[in-house]
Amino acid sequence: MTKILAVDDSASMRQMVVFTLQSAGYEVVEASDGLLALDAAKSGHFDLVLTDVNMPNMDGIALVRELRQLEAYKYTPILMLTTETAGDRKMAGRSAGATGWVVKPFNPDKLLATIKKVIG
């Protein structure tokens, strides 16, 4: 089963994302900041990482950078959940190695459509 790591410091967003993904049949592990996500990523394997950008402890961009350092996540699709205003941060995310982004606010359908784009 396709396994997704969902990272967001906001509990409501995380619940929404997790619920959506699980309803679509994905296996989901959640983390509430970059550091916890990195630990989770190291101790398991994921087919996709979905991360928020603004988070305490380690933000989404630093997380992407760290993940890309890991052999296991060199080519793994990483999507960032970002707000429509953060144009420059989208770029920062991409130069850190993110595959793409889902623009907030998004609805469950849009999220799933974007995910299907990258993992088919």
Binding site: Y75, P77, T85, G97, T99, G100, F106, P108, K117
Partner: protein
Amino acid sequence: MSIDLSQFHAVFFEESFEGLDVMENALLELQPENPDSELINSIFRSAHSIKGGSGTFGFISISEFTHILETLLDKIREGEEQLDADSVELFLQSVDCMRTMLEALQAETEPDTTRADQLAIMFQSILTGASAAEAKGLDVPATGASPVIQESVLPGSDSIPDSLAGFHIEFTPEADMLKGGNDPVRMMRELATLGELTSTPDTGALPTLRDMQPDVVYLNWCMDLHGDMPLEDVQEVFEWVEGECDLSISRLGGSADSAPEVMPSNVAEAVDHAPDGTSTAATKTKADEQESAKPIPDAPKTASPAKPAPAPAARAGKAESSSIRVGIDKVDSLINLVGELVITQSMLGQMGGSGEVITDDHIGNLREGLVQLEQNTRELQDSVMRIRMLPISFAFNRFPRMVRDLSLQLGKKVRLELRGEQTELDKTVMEKINDPLVHLVRNAMDHGIESPNVRADQGKDETGTIVLNAFHQGGNIIIEMIDDGGGIDADKLVAKARANGIVGDNEQLNQEQKLDLLFAPGLSTVEQVSDLSGRGVGMDVVRRNIQELNGSVDIDTELGKGTTFRIRLPLTLAILDGQLVTVAGQTYIFPLMSISESLQIDEKLVNNVAGGGDVYNLRDEYIPILSLDSIFGLRTEPLSYDQSLLVVVEAEGMKVSVVVDDLMAQQQVVIKSLEDNYTRVPGVSGATILGDGTVAMILDVAGLIGLAGNQKTMAAGEIAGSAA
């Protein structure tokens, strides 16, 4: 798939309120002249989360407002804007404003955005550097347009026949594009969903197999996409690789000069900036699109109102159900204990079901099992209680803001110190202790702490200190409110009380009784009644609220040095420390907290008051004697006084004594609501089930006093007055 987003609303509100608290606290801690970047970051993060969540869950008014806030915060974070005391104040007001709006949304009503609109204008004027008046004319319409609505306009252009033939796409990825996780195959697959795709790879750059690196892209593609699809959709496919490839998109069968205008960057960037409301390009794009959409008038009309519609529809869930966030460790310990309980149960079950002759061994094992069961039960009880426990910081956190605002208002300098913020207490107790605490702190600010010059004259630090301290003591939580102000003049209190007729002219009071007057209804020692407190309504309410929680409050004060209010509360409302008593064969329970003493009756000290009941002369204090027999109609012929005991109880500053047949054990009892299970009974605050399965009533001391009627107490007052 349709997912009901309203199921996440409760969590969203909860975390948004928490986020606002974080913002507020960080703002209070911020020193504008030397801002701590981590504090600004945490303010930004909170605002950002609220914006993201409110946008996602359809609370557009919140997300619009937070957006402006966030824009300024971002500029401050990047050092492009300076933070000053005024903007801190503005942010604080915004926090209040958002809290009010969120509360309205939580109650499923439409929030009033008047205040938000005013604040938005002020933020805009800071952002544009223009005067407020200018900002008003210029930017308000722009901020009014929601990011979501603008987005929704774009799909309106879907129906514009951008191209009937399709597009020609030349796509040359950079060699290391795969490293970002972007696979050209994915993009082609996606293009194929838009129309009929024919692609021709250029293999010219392909090395020999030996030299080939698996993670390098050597190919480029020329593609023709046939069909009727909007340009945006095609651009969106390549959105993530912009800058990592050479890309040209031109219309199939179109003239060659149309190619440059459809380069991806133009529209995409305009869309990016549109929500800022500052980009003229964005508005232009929008206007253009609406204009070009005219031939199909239905499209934009249906597009714009369609978006806000889901919001009210999504609010199917009830806002009422309040929730509690529990640490995972507490839940784990609960699960662990339930596991142990199951083990004990199966152990006992095995013994019971063995069907053999019962030996002493069996009895021994059974006893052991029961001891274990008892322990499990007690631990389980503790554990479940802990779930309702929250750190008192939830109650304390509002005070920094309050103290700041009040000290500005009063022209006083006050430093607030919070101690023991992690001390836990029951959620309900916390909610109910909030108002009394607020009142005490207000009082301390208003009457306790002196103005800076007075303090300086007395050789004190100009800045006064108020300490809120919480700690556990036995089964109670103690909350102290300590100020280093002027203290309470007990004699002034007495003089005032005499003037108001609360205390008789010749009545002598000890220090404790004098200070107790502070809680008497209708008493205020300050000549000038201020806005904040001093109307004499309050301290009596403070004490009543605390007593309703089965708690008590003490005062320590020293003139010129300061005052300490010490509130003692039970950790939970679900369990009560009770004194069991029997009357006419029935068991009743007094809250232990309300009992001041129990004694054997000396009949010589009982006086009968004409037209009233009996009073007892307790060390020259006359206390009404209440009979449960007559209140509850138990016996017409109660036991005589020499066969009975007297329990002296205190409530609402009044002492009464209750005749009982016998005192039994003191024990913790679980309170069951009578109102929920039966109906409200005067004089009874609840019931509990005792070890032997019988139901015992828990007495409501304040209610009993009321039941006994004013006659007796007034009679007692007369005696007390004449005796003194």
